[in-house]
């Protein structure tokens, strides 16, 4: 299953044949920008809190609701919230929390859902039936309400939020993966593997996973956005990330009351969510093209004039 995790990173960080991937990325300006934005978000989430110290939690009720300006140093650049905390520092602090909710939730549902789905689709019969009915059960609960109930019963800690958001999304991967596996298992190469006595998991891993992967990854990127928004909706309903922790979703939810009077509190974290998810989607679309031999040539289409012939030959070679 580790291949599932390595792959999206691998295409960006390019462990095997770096020049080619970097060149391809350079050809697609939007994908390049998206990669840079995502890189910045990651960097911010990792290094930001170290630089800012306690600026994200330091309150000053006399500095409440200051608009963005250059008058109060770096921390005052994007204004302050109602408690006089620096919005910039909170955005940075929130990046870490947001990613540490969204990424585990997406990865967890991706791995578990895909594994069960492919297993069910590959074997068919009763195993498939049971897996699909479990998916039906989860899907039949409105996920937001399920989250609210569960988080009232158990405390709304980050781990619980991750778990419940992941649980709600498992059926999506399960169904997608099952459909792919069910179709692939009758194909010649899978049949051949089975005939030669290969066990089921190696077959799934070697023959089904690589083909199902692009679709699953696309769903995962869309889900990245879904998870962030769900986390925000939970905060809107008062049951999301709990202070003093802060996430972008919580900032948008808490800031909504100030939309008329202090726009920066709700709008800036909203922009952060939009930028991150749009970048992730663009990059995922690019990765999907770049990893699909039948589609890869599209990346070489001229978005700029220079060097198109060389890359074309190199890629199609």
């Amino acid at each position: 299953m580790t291949a599932t995790l390595e792959r999206p990173d691998g295409t960006v960080a390019a462990p095997k044949r770096p020049p080619r991937w970097w060149l391809l990325l350079g050809k697609d300006k939007m994908a390049a920008v998206a990669a840079v934005v995502l890189g910045l978000v990651l960097l911010t989430a990792l290094a930001g809190p170290l630089l800012l110290g306690d600026a994200a939690t330091r309150q000053d009720l006399d500095a409440s609701l200051r608009p963005p300006s250059f008058d109060h140093g770096i921390t005052g650049l994007l204004g302050t919230d109602i408690l006089g905390r620096s919005v910039l520092a909170r955005l940075v602090e929130a990046a870490g929390t947001t990613l540490s909710v969204a990424m585990p939730a997406v990865l967890f549902s991706l791995v578990v859902g895909s594994a069960i789905g492919m297993w069910a689709g590959y074997h068919g019969g009763r195993r498939e039936n049971i897996a699909m009915r479990v998916a039906d059960v989860i899907l039949s609960f409105p996920s937001l309400l399920l989250a609210v109930v569960v988080l009232y019963v158990f405390t709304p800690s980050v781990a619980n939020i991750v778990f419940i958001l992941a649980l709600a999304r498992i059926p999506i991967y399960l169904r997608t993966a099952r459909a792919e596996a069910a179709e692939l298992k009758s194909r010649l190469f899978v049949d051949a593997a089975r005939t030669f006595g290969t066990a089921s998991w190696p077959t799934i891993y070697r023959h089904i996973l690589p083909i199902a992967m692009p679709t699953l990854l696309t769903v995962a990127t869309l889900d990245f956005c879904f998870v962030m928004l769900s986390e925000s909706s939970l905060s809107f309903l008062g049951i999301g990330i709990q202070p003093p922790d802060v996430s972008w979703g919580l900032m948008v939810a808490q800031g909504r009351q100030f939309l008329q009077t202090a726009w920066w509190i709700a709008v800036l974290p909203g922009v952060a969510i939009v930028l991150t998810t749009v970048s992730a989607t663009i990059l995922a679309a690019w990765v999907r093209l770049a990893t699909d031999p039948a589609q890869r040539w599209r990346l070489t289409l001229p978005t700029s004039k220079r060097g198109k012939r060389r890359v074309t030959t190199e890629v199609t070679a």
Partner: protein, 525 residues
């Protein structure tokens, strides 16, 4: 993929199937097209009010619940006596007079010539029935618990215009308590609560479209002065900004509970709403069982800054649980600026005595308790952290908050600092002390026998002696018990459009008297 040809017809069939499934659903709309919005047209004959939530019921014996009382009280049904929310005086309503005829007996003169909406005449029998129903029945009415503390009353109609009420113990404020009992006609169910009651009030229920609106029509046979608006319509929106938008747009004339950031001078009026916010410190759990720690918390909270910033200047820093105007309010107790040095000194003493100061304290607050409650909790957490205390915030919904608020308290949850908002609707400190201060009070975590005794004595007194005794009780609590670290006496914001005139009073949030709302002058309505 399949070859595309054979599926062509099927795709068409599929499209038709989908369309067939979707269209009937959208053909019959919930929206009926009178083009005027939920609250009705701005035609001058309808008063349109937007509430924060739909009343769960209009049962009169539940009217001490804010969301029910704000519609029912003195509009649909009326009590025998009403309390003037500004002066605290008791005024006659369905009773024309009352007197204490023995230490445990009160006699009430019942108004004649009053009819219920159903047309039935109102007599002392109905009054006796209503009191019996609210207080002595198995309905478990909120009024019963809140106002009477399950004291059982003997009620008898001695003639159609005379009623006697007897209590077990002498009760000097029985008329005040009875001002919470709304009168319903005999025949109203005593087995179940009624959703749409009949009363004697200036308005009768004309319709309740669940989830959408409640419509009241003027009672043309009302015994008193006719109110200005023939029709009143209530709608509800949970977002304050939407309520404010409805006022701004002219879709509603009045709105309860606006948040400060949605309010402007044109669209709202601030009024003291009798609510007081405070932290209730659980004195049974370390480190909060040490009075020095509790006092240090009281000293370190910057209630001035919280009131100024988080409550937008609408709160007045508090040093006791009841606001000015309530019997027992102690004018000598005034909120002080935070004193960090004194607080730290107390904490150091406690630390030296081995009090476990690093034990995690849970600060419990309720979503939507008051505007900016989450931010207030964060401010408190920050200020207590400066004292070296380890505080965790737990935001809950109403049900979970009640578990922390009421006896029996949850066990094994460690030390709890509960953010409470106490509204003394009745105007007498006895309603506060019996709940929040006595050792075994339903909302009190602990107390002292000495304070209990003083409260017991104060409850038997009346007049100036009562005022002085309760004022002393409140001062004593701060000195010897310190169960509460106060925040502020709150003020509410009433959204008001320019088409109506209304002067809010301290009771407006609990009881919005429609008869007091008039069309604005110069509106030609």
């Amino acid at each position: 993929m399949l070859s595309s040809v054979p599926t062509r017809r099927r795709t068409r069939a599929l499209t038709a199937l989908l369309a067939a499934a979707l269209l009937p659903a959208s053909a019959c709309a919930v929206a009926n097209s009178d083009g005027a919005g939920d609250a009705g047209a701005a035609d001058g004959s309808t008063l349109r009010i937007v509430l924060a939530q739909e009343p769960p019921t209009l049962e009169p014996c539940e009217s001490s619940l804010t969301s029910t009382g704000v519609v029912v009280r003195s509009n649909i049904s009326e009590p025998l006596i009403e309390r003037d929310p500004t002066t605290g005086e008791l005024d006659p309503l369905l009773a024309t007079g009352w007197r204490q005829t023995s230490p445990t007996t009160w006699t009430f003169d019942i108004r004649s010539g009053v009819r219920f909406h159903s047309g039935a005449p109102f007599t002392a029998e109905d009054a006796a029935f209503s009191i019996d129903r609210a207080v002595n029945s198995d309905l478990a009415c909120n009024v019963d618990g809140y106002v009477f503390e399950d004291e059982k009353l003997g009620v008898e109609a001695t003639s159609p215009t005379s009623l006697t009420v007897t209590t077990v113990e002498p009760d000097p404020i029985l008329p005040l308590r009875l001002s919470f009992v709304e009168i319903v006609p005999r025949g109203t169910s005593t087995e179940a609560k009624v959703r749409e009651p009949v009363g004697t009030g200036p308005y009768a229920i004309a319709g309740w479209q669940t989830g959408v609106s409640i419509t009241l029509h003027r009672n043309e046979n009302y015994w008193g002065e006719q109110p200005a608006f023939p029709v009143v319509r209530y709608v509800w929106r949970s977002e304050s900004s939407v309520r404010a938008a409805m006022i701004a747009k002219g879709e509603a004339d009045l709105s309860t509970g606006l948040d400060p950031e949605d309010a402007t001078e044109e669209n709202s009026i601030a009024y003291p709403n009798n609510e007081t916010t405070a932290l209730r410190l659980d004195g049974t759990q370390a480190p909060l069982d040490d009075i020095r720690v509790r006092k240090a918390i009281g000293l370190v909270i910057d209630r001035q800054a919280i009131a100024r910033t988080l409550f937008d200047g609408l709160g007045e820093p508090a040093a006791q649980l009841v606001p000015d105007g309530v019997v027992g309010y102690n004018p000598a107790l005034q909120a002080q600026a935070p004193d960090h040095e004194a607080a730290r000194a107390l904490i150091e003493q406690a630390r030296a005595d081995g009090v476990p100061l690093d034990r995690e304290i849970t600060l419990v607050a309720r979503n939507d308790q008051f505007p900016r409650v989450a931010e207030t909790a964060e401010a408190l957490q920050y200020q207590l952290a400066q004292l070296g205390l380890n505080v965790r915030i737990l935001m809950t919904d109403t049900a979970a908050h009640l578990q922390y608020q009421l006896r029996p308290f949850p066990e094994n949850v460690g030390p709890v600092a509960l953010l409470i908002m106490h509204g003394n609707q009745a105007g007498d400190a006895a309603f506060t002390t019996s709940q929040y201060l006595v050792s075994d009070g339903p909302q009190s975590t602990f107390g002292t026998p000495e304070l209990d005794a003083r409260i017991d004595d104060a409850e038997r007194l009346s007049g100036q002696a009562r005022q002085d005794a309760f004022a002393a009780v409140l001062a004593d609590q701060n000195e010897t018990v310190a169960q509460y670290a106060y925040l502020a006496h709150m003020r509410g914001l009433l959204g008001i459009g320019d088409s109506v005139e209304y002067e809010p009073n301290p009771a407006t949030g609990d009881e919005l008297r429609l008869a007091a709302v008039r069309p604005a002058k110069g509106q030609g309505r």
